[in-house]
């Protein structure tokens, strides 16, 4: 009877977007008379942080200060269609839509600025709320002033519309041939575990993960997904069961005291790194990452258990009982 250590790896892919596509997102943007921008979306923030990364992408596209971009979301009477927040689709699709809308608004703003500054719109650059002639930083006007001029002098709207749709081209009924996603993110996770051969307990000691996400709009928030997802994944692998005696229906947990999941005391040491290698059509190269972070701990832990004690636990969640039965079987078959 002993505590055995083991290490396991898992290398995964994850698709971005609703399967096969056909999941559009739309955005509207308009400028207010003193140069603030409002983005209208019918999106939901589940905690993943859309309300934070959308202003980042819009401010970057427009060249205005981050705090001058406000996002209004969550009312179908005030915003156009969005498919919903799932399938790791939003930063990609909503991002593309808001960039398209911001670009249209920017074009109109630059047309007014060109008029005001007696320059050509192609020669103008917007940076940090100032519009200046490329190469001649002294020849500039503030977005504030151009906005006022657009509204009250020129009578021009500065607004934009955006939509992103990956068309659904269906599935070949015979071969299953299709185009299921816009891009794929990847990750590799290494798990170190300790298995107690007397009790069957498995303790996850440490997880290392490398995630390639195309572009991290907000790195700390991507890390938030990696950490939060990893903990959820460890829980799925080692604790969570809607039917602890599956396939028996009962007992059927109905409370937190009956449904086992990760608490603060269960979190192991974790280390992660983010790689950014762009994508074919993600906004700024983005790939979706929200779901995949809960996946890699499952096989990494099972593989680590095999490395530790030579048994495959292929029916999840891993429980001490399953480990002990497997060890027993192994002992008998080894004889």
């Amino acid at each position: 009877m002993a505590i055995k250590r083991g290490r396991g790896i898992a290398a995964l892919n994850y698709p971005t977007g609703m399967n096969l596509g056909g999941d559009p997102s739309q955005a509207l943007i308009y400028m207010q008379p003193t140069g603030g921008f409002v983005v209208k979306l019918a999106c939901t923030d589940l905690g993943q942080g859309l309300k934070t990364v959308v202003p980042q992408m819009v401010a970057e596209t427009l060249g205005v200060p981050l705090e001058s971009v406000n996002i209004e979301t969550g009312d179908t009477d005030s915003a156009p269609h969005d498919m919903g927040q799932f399938a790791s689709r939003s930063t990609h699709r909503v991002g593309n839509a808001v960039i398209m809308a911001a670009k249209e608004a920017k074009k109109q703003l630059l047309e007014v600025a060109a008029d005001e500054m007696e320059a050509s719109p192609e020669d103008l650059v917007i940076s940090d709320g100032e519009i200046f002639v490329r190469g001649v930083p002294s020849k500039k006007k503030s977005v504030f002033d151009v906005a006022l001029a657009a509204t009250f002098k020129h009578g021009k709207t500065v607004s934009g519309r955006g939509i992103f749709l990956k068309q659904n081209h269906g599935v070949d009924p015979e071969t299953g041939a299709c185009d299921p996603d816009s891009t794929e993110a990847h990750c590799t996770t290494v798990a170190d575990v300790e298995v107690d051969t007397e009790t069957g307990d498995v303790k996850v000691l440490k997880l290392w993960s490398a995630y390639e996400v195309g572009r991290a709009i907000n790195p700390k928030m991507v890390q938030g997904q990696i950490v939060g997802g990893s903990v959820m994944g460890i829980g799925i692998a080692t604790k969570e069961a809607s039917f602890p005696n599956y396939p028996q229906f009962d007992p059927h947990p109905g409370s937190f005291s009956e449904y086992m999941m990760m608490g603060a005391a269960d979190v192991p040491e974790m280390e992660s790194t983010i790689l950014e290698m762009g994508s074919v059509d993600g906004p700024f190269g983005v790939k979706g990452v929200g779901e995949m972070t809960a996946n890699s701990p499952l096989p990494a832990i099972v593989n680590a258990i095999y490395d530790a004690v030579g048994v495959w636990i292929t029916d999840l969640p891993v429980t001490p009982e399953k480990v002990l039965r497997a060890l027993e079987e192994k002992e008998l078959s080894d004889k």
């Binding site: 923030d45 589940l46 905690g47 993943q48 942080g49 700390k220 928030m221 938030g224 950490v227 939060g228 997802g229 990893s230 903990v231 959820m232 409370s255 937190f256 005291s257 999941m261 990760m262 608490g263 603060a264 005391a265 979190v267 974790m270």
Partner: protein, 155 residues
Amino acid sequence: MELVTISFKLNGRPVAVVASPLENLRDVLREKLQVLTVKAGCGQGGCGSCTVLMNGEPVVSCLTPIVNAQGQEITTLEGIGTFNNLHPLQQAFYDNFAAQCGYCSSGMITVAKALLDHNPHPSREQIIDALAGNVCRCTGYVPIIQAIEQVTDSK
């Protein structure tokens, strides 16, 4: 059941409510006193999102009969800090991205406040122990622990 009047101090202010004695403190705070920082996550005392302080001790308000609040001092998140007067814990949670969906944040910060009031320099193990009754599904707990540690380090 007959209605009774329960008086107590809420974030330092005297209040009184008329309620059925077994009505739970969580629902009284939310429905009768518009204290919406207290969340209704489970009603079973299992998630900690309804945590308030009673005389400085964390309790799950969903399982606290209102009659138990008679004459006591109840502290909710509003009494710990507001947006123009943040408690260091709230600042640390904000700085460390310790809130994603935000639903567990009120309970987490409240229980952390009680910990630090009792023990200004808790070890990591003591912090983790204090969070035993609070569920977070989004963050994986790590930035929450980091936020609390940051406050204890700087104290």
